[in-house]
Every structure is written in structure tokens, then in C-alpha cells.
């Protein structure tokens, strides 16, 4: 049981690390595009605040990748993934059906894209997996 869980946990961590690596590097490479998504498309915060928070968010995603792949930080990696997914879902759900000029801010930052159920389901699945694995590790359930 224990070995099976460890394998499952590592598979999940690697998959999540790949997803977050792709997402964060795109946002860091086109920091300006992500900044405009946050400040103009989602209109979440003012431009001044977005100039600080959008790079910070992309950098946090990158840190999550390192944590997920570091055995002693993995549990915090899962918890951070779950927290980030809560943030993303709280932004995506109210805007379902809206067409974003520069994309939804998930991966492709340069194609106009509609926020669909698919985006919400995908983020929810990542949230569930990260929350379950994070809690199991944190409270020692099944180990």
C-alpha cells in the first residue's frame, strides 16, 4: 500500500510540475502579456498592482515546480498547488464564457480564447489531486 501510494504521489508531482513549469515559463517569458491579462482582461487589480503581482504569481508557480520535485518540500508543493488552483478557479468561474483577448492566462498568452467548462474542470482536477495528496502527506494518512 505504502509503495503504491509513493509511486502515485511521484507521478502526480511530476505531472503537476510539468504543467506548472510550462505555465510559469510562458508567463515569465512574456511577463508583459500576463500583466495585461491580469490588469486589462480580468481587471482584477490596478495596473500598478498588476505590475508587481503578475510577475510574483508567475515566479511562485516556478517555485512550486521546484518544491514538487524536492522530496522534503513536496508536501508544501502540493499545498501551494491547491492554493493556486483555488485562486485560479475563483477568477475563472465568474468569467466563464468570456472571450479573453490574450488568452485565459493559463498557457497560451497570445491567442484570443474563451473560458470554457474545460478550463474549470482541468483546474478543479488539479486542485482535487493536490489537496488530497497534500492532506494525506500532512496528516500521514495511508503512509
Amino acid at each position: 500500500m505504502k509503495n503504491w501510494l509513493i509511486v502515485l504521489q511521484w507521478v502526480a508531482a511530476i505531472v503537476m510540475a510539468i504543467v506548472f513549469y510550462k505555465s510559469s515559463t510562458q508567463k515569465l517569458q512574456n511577463a508583459y502579456g500576463f500583466y495585461r491579462i491580469i490588469s486589462e482582461d480580468y481587471k482584477l487589480i490596478s495596473k500598478e498592482k498588476a505590475a508587481f503581482f503578475s510577475p510574483l504569481l508567475a515566479a511562485v508557480e516556478f517555485i512550486v515546480v521546484i518544491w514538487l520535485l524536492t522530496p522534503w518540500m513536496q508536501v508544501w508543493g502540493f499545498i501551494m498547488v491547491a492554493c493556486l488552483q483555488v485562486l485560479f478557479l475563483s477568477v475563472l468561474i465568474p468569467r466563464k464564457g468570456d472571450v479573453m483577448k490574450y488568452g485565459c492566462g493559463c498557457f497560451d498568452l497570445n491567442t484570443p480564447r474563451e473560458i470554457t467548462n474545460r478550463d474549470i474542470v482541468r483546474n478543479s482536477m488539479i486542485f482535487c489531486a493536490a489537496a488530497v495528496l497534500g492532506c494525506m502527506n500532512l496528516f500521514g494518512i495511508g503512509y
Binding site: 508567463k27 515569465l28 517569458q29 512574456n30 511577463a31 508583459y32 502579456g33 500583466y35 495585461r36 505590475a51 508587481f52 503578475s54 510577475p55 510574483l56 508567475a58 515566479a59 511562485v60 516556478f62 517555485i63 521546484i66 518544491w67 524536492t70 522534503w72 518540500m73 490574450y102 498568452l109 497570445n110
Partner: protein, 141 residues
């Protein structure tokens, strides 16, 4: 071990955030120096002759470097440099006869009219700088 990991993470976080912030401010500065749609319209109505460099630095951030390169081959006052993200659909209609405006691109402007035979600035083409030079040379007055 955890404290050390957190410290390293914090350093990486700071470096990445500051680098990305710098990129944002650089792009903002480049965008601020570009012509607004009203100025482009005015120039075209005044029968401008030269080139039009249309960029989209939000989607293609690396293309901002092309400005300096193009200005080495054409006098700055002979190039209209603008960013398509500042243009509305109504503004784009000022480019008479252009059905599909490709960008980022360089186009010849004669008497205020854009030549539809534009050069799409493809950063992935290894030979693109040479081809830009050829495009400019062939269409210069």
C-alpha cells in the same frame, strides 16, 4: 534543510519577479514611444511616404528589438511605428485596401496608402534580417 530550501526559493522568487518586472517596464516604455492611432491617421491623410512598422509587443515581446534594427536601415521619420493593440477595429479601417492586416509586419506606404505586399516579421526564420534588408532596399525611393 527546509529553512535552506525556503531561503533558496525566496532568492529565486525575488530574482524572477524583478526580471519580469523589468521586462514589463521596458515594454511599457516601448509602447509609450509608439505612435497613437490618431497620429498614424494624420500622417496617412497627409500622404505619408515611407514605411509602416506594425508591432504587437504584447503577443510578440521580442519584436520590440526589431525597431532599432529597422531604424538602422530607414530614417526614423520615414517609419510609422505603432502597436496594433492600441488600435480598435475602426482605427484599422484607416488602412485602405487592406483586407487582412498581418502583424508584426513592415509595409511600404506610398501617398498615405499601405502596400498590401507586407513583410511579416518572423522571428523564427534564421534568414529574416537579410530578407528585411532586401525588402527595404527594393522598396526604398
Amino acid at each position: 534543510m527546509i529553512i535552506l530550501s525556503l531561503f533558496i526559493s525566496l532568492v529565486i522568487l525575488l530574482v524572477l519577479t524583478l526580471r519580469a518586472r523589468k521586462q514589463i517596464f521596458m515594454q511599457e516604455r516601448v509602447l509609450a514611444n509608439m505612435m497613437p492611432p490618431a497620429e498614424v491617421r494624420e500622417k496617412l491623410e497627409d500622404k505619408f511616404n515611407g514605411f509602416a512598422l506594425c508591432l504587437d509587443i504584447t503577443r510578440y515581446p521580442n519584436t520590440r528589438q526589431i525597431i532599432d534594427y529597422i531604424c538602422q536601415h530607414i530614417e526614423r521619420d520615414k517609419v510609422l511605428i505603432y502597436d496594433i493593440s492600441t488600435f480598435t477595429a475602426r482605427d484599422i479601417a484607416m488602412f485602405q485596401g487592406i483586407k487582412n492586416y498581418y502583424y508584426p509586419s513592415l509595409a511600404r506606404v506610398k501617398n498615405g496608402i499601405l502596400n498590401p505586399d507586407m513583410f511579416v516579421l518572423n522571428r523564427y526564420d534564421s534568414d529574416y534580417k537579410k530578407r528585411i534588408e532586401e525588402f527595404i532596399e527594393l522598396r526604398k525611393d
